[in-house]
Symmetry: C2
Subunit: 480 residues, 2 copies
């Protein structure tokens, strides 16, 4: 199965065409509905709830009013030609809509429905027809088989709708998977990572990964381009685009379809050709792209990039309450290509004076003994550790239940505020590994404490990871 | 720094000596206290709260009553000689206690305090002295620098005390780290994994990893021996013990101290010699041991062993709602040495009839389209997938928030009950990957739903993992 796009006409990259879609000023929803569990109703509700900034026109010949708004029978009846049309109706019924769009002169159409080239021959013919109509009418297509666009500036919202960030940010995320576009958006929201845009582009029949990477390379709002990719319409062109992007921006890619069975899955998901794993890996490395795997790892790297940027330094100062924790962390760090250098002589001497109890073990890793010892001792020790000249980043492991048992939430807050302050004072980044191993009925309570601490730390500029392996992996990747 | 043990007398392994400690019928707590944040008070409270099954004698010359109980000034004043003495007082004050123990004829002493060989010369001399007193008095030492013993049968409890399981189980966990002995106990409790015993043995000055592995090899309650290890007193003896253990039991080991910096940390944590990483890895593989890394991975493997046993089959049937999820899972599975075979012809044909919507993609991985489609369709599809003859284990991915949005908790419960039923009906294991990507104020609510679903599934015999990488890794390890 070859990409359908080339069988019609591959258009040269045009920033303004894509920009007119992403920053659409008016929107029509075809298939707008109030019936539950329909794409049309989910999308309608989300655009109206999260407040698309321009006019939203609802189109459905079988409805007259939805959520108190007038519904038009077709696109030709609208009072103006919308910039963007979002089609939420099934594949076989979409062609009539595209013909209307061609006649009216809209700028772009998002086709959400599946049932195109990913299902085989019949669907491939439909996709070809859609492309021909787009070329005739001079509009561009996002999708099909996608969740659309999230843009915090015009408040255009993905299906199913969520408001992922409070303010426009500098991360663009493009994704062939609709599900992952939402997962990444959700997870980043809890981490305080803001987007310039998220685009779920599905089959990428018209606007594809190459177009979107070029667009965000040129977009002044975007500093980090992240992507979930199953294949590329044109590998050579895409690689050129990535290399160009990596000169100006940080690029983070999650490429799937590396195994035989997942390559099969890629074809039936978005009809893409996955390509050889080894070739992809080599190409990504050459282009200076950070390669990740999974939603968690992608978000972990975005968090590290937000607070640390690229190549913040490989030398870790590992601290925690408990000898096993530090030993394990040191193993993970060195396996990942990071360093855990011995402490500078001065740091060693001073920390030995501060931590003079049998439970503590002074060195790197640094075991402070009890998870949160007497707060003034904790403060003095952490202050010294944060500025140790042989290390770049301080990593502190907080086993929440232990720490909570000794200091309560008040004690934890005070200790975390000290870490925030030390990060600011020393000018060196602080990373906290924060997790709960609660049991039984305590569970939800500890989850609540954990979320509050996480928010406190992130707002104070301290990175938070839920496990040591994830923290170490993220630090290794941004240093790669 | 060489292990101190050999400088005194290495005793031959004796099952009954260790058994008398683990199954102690009476207990004295030296340093019993009611003052908060003292080892003595934590340990006293936990033994009394969780109800050690025999008499508990509190010893402290400075107290007369704690929690309504008489406190004795010293061990010699007790009305009987206790089987086990737990010393919670600092290292330098422990020797007097050990002299008393030698005179009285107790069977074992747990020394919790740090400040022995792990701090260097002065501590090493103390450790030697403790061993000499133990040999003189004919008792054995657990520790020093440890959290002691958890035994669900006599309800002896680790410091800090927790009741990790409701019923005695078949997993023994030995740990040089006190912290990890508690973390693993806590996490296993939420997973329904029950212990025959947990022993935190710290420096292992007297009873060490070799003794404990031999003990649990002979222990009829124990079927799985798990361990967190920093080094071994005698590598050759330990390897013999492991090989012997692996003939009769399943052995799972987490060995740290593989890197230069972590080997340094091991010395200052428990005074062990970590040894070469490559040698260890080779030896563990030869002995048939499952090697893991981290609390999460250890518990994930214990969960898989509980429900699937060793070598349950490498051929996975991957199912979920969303094409990206399956593609990613297939990549992970094949990278880990598992298989994702094509569906049998009959399964393929029947599933195509059942899942005839554009959003679904029939194959392996199987994308059912919407996360939880119409329940009768879901049931029919999963019933067919569960018995597909080309695969051994069905893995179903539940992105909680998506699924919740479509079916609510009632719908999810019904769907999960179907998966439980299908596992029982097909005789093939079912694994659910269950996670939440909630945002903002929904967070805690989704955590609650997630915990309830997890409990429901585990009680129904379905394994639950919080992410696809963790599920795949655990399945690969038990198949290794």
């Amino acid at each position: 199965m070859s990409p359908t796009k080339k069988d019609v006409v591959t258009l040269p990259f045009d920033f303004t065409e894509i920009d007119a879609i992403v920053n659409a000023r008016s929107l029509a929803i075809v298939g707008a509905s109030a019936k539950p569990v329909k794409f049309g109703s989910l999308f309608t509700a989300s655009q109206l709830t999260y407040g698309f900034s321009g006019p939203v026109y609802l189109v459905n010949p079988g409805e007259s009013e939805i959520m108190g708004r007038k519904v038009y029978p077709d696109l030709r009846s609208l009072p103006e030609v919308p910039d963007l049309v979002c089609s939420t109706i099934p594949a076989h019924r979409s062609m009539d809509i595209l013909r209307d769009c061609a006649g009216l002169g809209v700028k772009g159409v998002i086709i959400m429905a599946a049932g195109f080239r990913e299902i085989g021959e019949g669907g491939e013919a439909l996709e070809q027809e859609a492309l021909r109509l787009a070329r005739e009418g001079g509009f561009r297509i996002v999708g099909p088989n996608c969740f659309g666009i999230y843009n915090p500036r015009n408040r255009l919202t993905l299906l199913p709708g969520h408001d992922f960030s409070s303010t426009p940010g500098n991360v663009a995320f493009i994704s062939q998977s609709g599900g992952f576009s939402v997962h990444v958006g959700r997870q980043c929201k809890t981490l305080g990572i803001d987007f310039s845009a998220i685009i779920s582009y599905g089959n990428g029949a018209d606007l594809d990964e190459t177009d979107l990477v070029r667009y965000f390379t040129a977009d002044p709002q975007t500093e980090i381009i992240a992507g979930y990719l199953e294949g590329a319409s044109d590998g050579r062109l895409f690689m050129q685009a990535l290399k160009e992007a990596a000169v100006h921006k940080t690029v983070v890619l999650w490429k799937v379809g590396k195994s035989e069975s997942s390559a099969r899955a890629v074809i039936s998901h978005t009809g893409s050709l996955a390509g050889s794993a080894a070739i992809w890996q080599g190409m990504l490395r050459q282009s200076g792209v950070i390669e990740v795997s999974g939603v968690d790892e992608l978000c972990d790297v975005l968090l590290a990039l937000k607070h640390l940027g690229r190549k913040p330094g490989r030398r870790l100062m590992l601290c925690g309450g408990g000898g096993g924790l530090g030993t394990y962390a040191a193993d993970l760090a060195e396996e990942a290509g990071l360093e855990v250098p011995s402490l500078a002589d001065d740091s060693l001497a001073r920390l030995r004076e501060i931590l003079n109890t049998p439970g503590a073990a002074v060195g790197n890793p640094l075991d402070i003994g009890a998870p949160l010892i007497h707060l003034p001792v904790f403060e003095a020790a952490m202050r010294k550790a944060a500025v140790n000249p042989s290390t770049d980043i301080l990593v502190f492991d907080v086993a929440l239940n232990f720490a909570y048992g000794l200091g309560g939430e008040e004690g934890l807050n005070a200790a975390m505020d000290m870490l925030i302050h030390m990060g600011q004072e020393s000018g060196k980044p602080v990373v906290v590994v924060l997790y709960s191993r609660a049991i039984g009925s305590e569970d939800i309570f500890f989850e609540e404490v954990l979320r509050r601490l996480q928010t406190r730390l992130l707002e104070g500029g301290v990175l938070v990871y839920p496990s040591m392996p994830r923290a170490i992996r993220a630090l290794a990747l941004v240093n790669a």
